[in-house]
């Protein structure tokens, strides 16, 4: 336990020092009266955050863009060569990533919507909601290990250990493949893990949106004879449209950035590589700063329009209300 103690105590020490510093600064600055007080307060309150943001996000982002124009060691300027490399030789990675950002968000949102609608009609929904949401609390790595057990392969002559192989055999298939190695289907199996995690998020957000539809609107529609599917498509969906979009795009952004699943399950092999993992591989395994940076910029460029669109949607939604 000595190890635990020393580790935790260094954490607590850091926290204590942090608070002490802040309190000291507050105390000293609080004593200064007069015209200087407000600007000083402004600097003290805002300064640390702004400095950290500049050092931690702004400057590194600019440097990364710069680094992407240099070679692997960062010494030689090579212009757009890294980007040519990305778009000419890494097309399978790009295509894969595209598949991911289309299929995983759509599947998660659709399933989340279905669950939200069904849960709306249930009496005791909170247990189901908890359990379906639970995968969001565990790490991607943990989720990957959970699902690697499901996808585990054994020779058909042996007893099966992976749930998927077993189910497939019970359904009559004699010779289930080694799922993780089976390209291109393995990509979709990895997406299943993402969907498993994200459905809870979609479900909770859409459930709140559905419950927020004013009951008068629903009653009026029901009085007009709209039930079941008609109610769903003519009333429910339009009223939650912007929430649907926000959920969809939020998951898309997550899918773009997450490399944990691919790294843990296949490390990008067997045709499963995506941009986020390739960036990590180039930067930290191949030590190619130029290519790693170029991939990061590609990610950045892909994410920015999504976020802008999302923010625009949210403002529209707020304006409606």
């Amino acid at each position: 336990m000595g190890d635990a103690w020393s580790k935790l105590s260094s954490a607590f020490l850091a926290i204590a020092v942090f608070f002490a510093l802040i309190l000291i600064v507050f105390f000293i600055a609080g004593r200064i009266r007069g015209r200087l007080q407000t600007p000083l307060a402004g600097i003290i309150f805002l300064g640390p955050a702004v400095i950290l943001l500049i050092m931690g996000l702004v400057v590194p982002a600019i440097r990364t863009i710069g680094d992407s124009l240099y070679n692997a060691s960062g010494k030689e300027f090579i212009g757009m060569a890294n980007y040519s490399w990305v778009f000419e030789t890494q097309t399978d990675v790009l295509v894969n990533t595209l598949l991911w950002i289309v299929i995983a968000p759509v599947a998660s949102t659709a399933l989340g919507l279905t669950l939200a609608l069904l849960l709306d009609r249930m009496k005791r929904e909170s247990i189901s909601k908890s359990l379906i949401f639970m995968p969001m609390a565990i790490s991607f790595v943990g989720a990957s290990i959970i699902w690697s057990l499901v996808y585990e392969y054994r020779d058909p002559s042996q007893q099966q250990v992976g749930l998927l192989s077993q189910i497939v055999m019970w359904l009559g298939v004699q010779d289930p493949p080694n799922w993780i190695l089976w390209s291109p289907f393995n990509n979709y199996l990895l997406m299943v893990i993402m969907v498993w995690i994200q459905v809870g998020f979609a479900m909770v957000v859409l459930s709140a949106a559905i419950k927020a539809i004013p009951s008068e609107v629903v009653e009026a529609a029901e009085l007009d004879g709209a039930t079941g599917w008609k109610l769903f498509s003519r009333v429910t969906i339009p009223m939650i449209r912007s929430t649907l979009t926000v959920v969809l795009i939020t998951i898309m952004i997550a899918v773009l950035k997450i490399f944990d699943i691919v790294r843990t399950m296949t490390n990008g092999n067997f045709g499963t590589q995506v941009v986020a993992n390739e960036m990590y591989a180039q930067a930290f395994v191949q030590f190619d700063v130029g290519r790693g940076s170029a991939l990061a910029v590609v990610l950045f460029v892909a994410v920015v329009p999504l976020i802008i669109y999302n923010v625009w949607q949210l403002r529209k939604e707020r304006a409606i209300r």
Partner: protein, 325 residues
């Protein structure tokens, strides 16, 4: 936490149930319930499989499906024992990494929180010329993915960073060696996590700050209280629920993070968190099902406890704020 998005999903309060609505719920469709129950079961089964496998003897776990455990139950805690302290198969236990995760996540939840609350207060209540611009710039920084900042930040920690002759971040070399003094400490991790958490944190807490009652703030100023006093005595106590929600999210986010951990902590037991350890043993010892499932369960037990105990905060934070990226 594994979701990614910095959008505010501000939900209006759910409309109070009218009588027809309540009636509709009571006459709920059993068909709908059945489908939901089925999906819930499907959702829980994989995790159940993990748990059961981790409790089975090695031979059982490697050679038979976990579902056969129900017909021939055999339970052992030795997998957990071996994973915790290390053993013949996987040298080096998970325990140091477990404590690393705590030691990283606790400060990494608190630091951004406090700094963000201070910044949010300033942006909301200390009027100055560029406050809107600064706020918008901070909000916009949410678009920058972690990947854009990692390499230069790593360089900064290892080699320092100066503009011309001015050292912005000192080059903290151990005397006589290439290695930075920071290597093998948690400090780069704390700083990195704090930096990355700030844009979203400031945005969320600012939402809250802006809604504080103006008259209370004005009254305090008229009484001659300094901003520091107002912050400490009035704002902070009021902000506790908002801060608590964010703190929980941030703790889980850092606990579950892999990218920052791998970048700044490598894989050594002195600083690497549990996610890095898991990711590495899955690669090398993936066949030792009984052990990696036990390791995985140890890694997820803390988030699970936090999640189930603090669900209300979780969901409220999710809906009233946004999901971390």
């Amino acid at each position: 936490m594994s979701v990614e998005a910095h959008e505010v999903i501000a939900m209006p309060q759910p409309a109070k149930e009218s009588i027809p609505e309540a009636a509709r719920r009571k006459m709920s469709s059993p068909w709908a319930s059945a489908v939901v129950v089925l999906i819930t079961v499907i959702w829980t089964v994989p995790t159940l499989g993990l748990l059961i496998t981790s409790l089975r003897p090695a031979a059982d776990a490697q050679n038979t499906g976990w579902w056969t455990w129900f017909t021939s139950p055999a339970v052992t805690l030795s997998n957990y024992g071996e994973v915790l302290t290390g053993g013949a198969t996987i040298p080096g236990g998970i325990t140091p990494y477990f404590w690393n995760s705590f030691a990283i996540a606790l400060p990494a939840a608190i630091f951004p929180l406090i700094l963000a609350t201070m910044a949010a207060y300033a942006l909301a209540w200390i009027p100055f010329k560029w406050s809107t611009g600064v706020f918008f710039a901070i909000f916009a920084l949410q678009v920058v993915p972690l990947q854009m900042a990692l390499l230069p930040l790593l360089q900064m920690f290892n080699l320092g960073w100066s503009i011309g002759p001015i050292p912005i971040f000192p080059d903290l070399n151990k005397p006589g060696s290439e290695q930075s003094l920071l290597a093998g400490t948690y400090i780069p991790l704390w700083i990195a996590h704090t930096m990355f958490a700030l844009p979203l944190a400031i945005f969320l807490i600012h939402n809250f700050m802006a809604q504080l009652p103006r008259d209370v703030m004005e009254a305090a100023k008229v009484d001659g209280a300094s901003h520091f006093l107002i912050f400490r005595k009035i704002v902070l106590p009021l902000a506790v629920p908002a801060i608590a929600s964010f703190a929980i999210f941030q703790f889980l986010w850092v606990w579950n993070d892999l990218l920052v951990a791998l970048t700044f902590a490598g894989g050594t037991p002195d600083v690497a968190p549990i996610t890095a350890y898991l990711s590495n043993i899955k690669g090398t010892y993936g066949a030792q099902l009984h052990l990696i499932t036990a390791g995985a369960f140890i890694a997820i037990i803390v988030p699970l406890i936090v999640f189930f105990a603090l669900q209300r905060f979780f969901v409220r934070g999710l809906l009233a704020g946004s999901v971390k990226g």
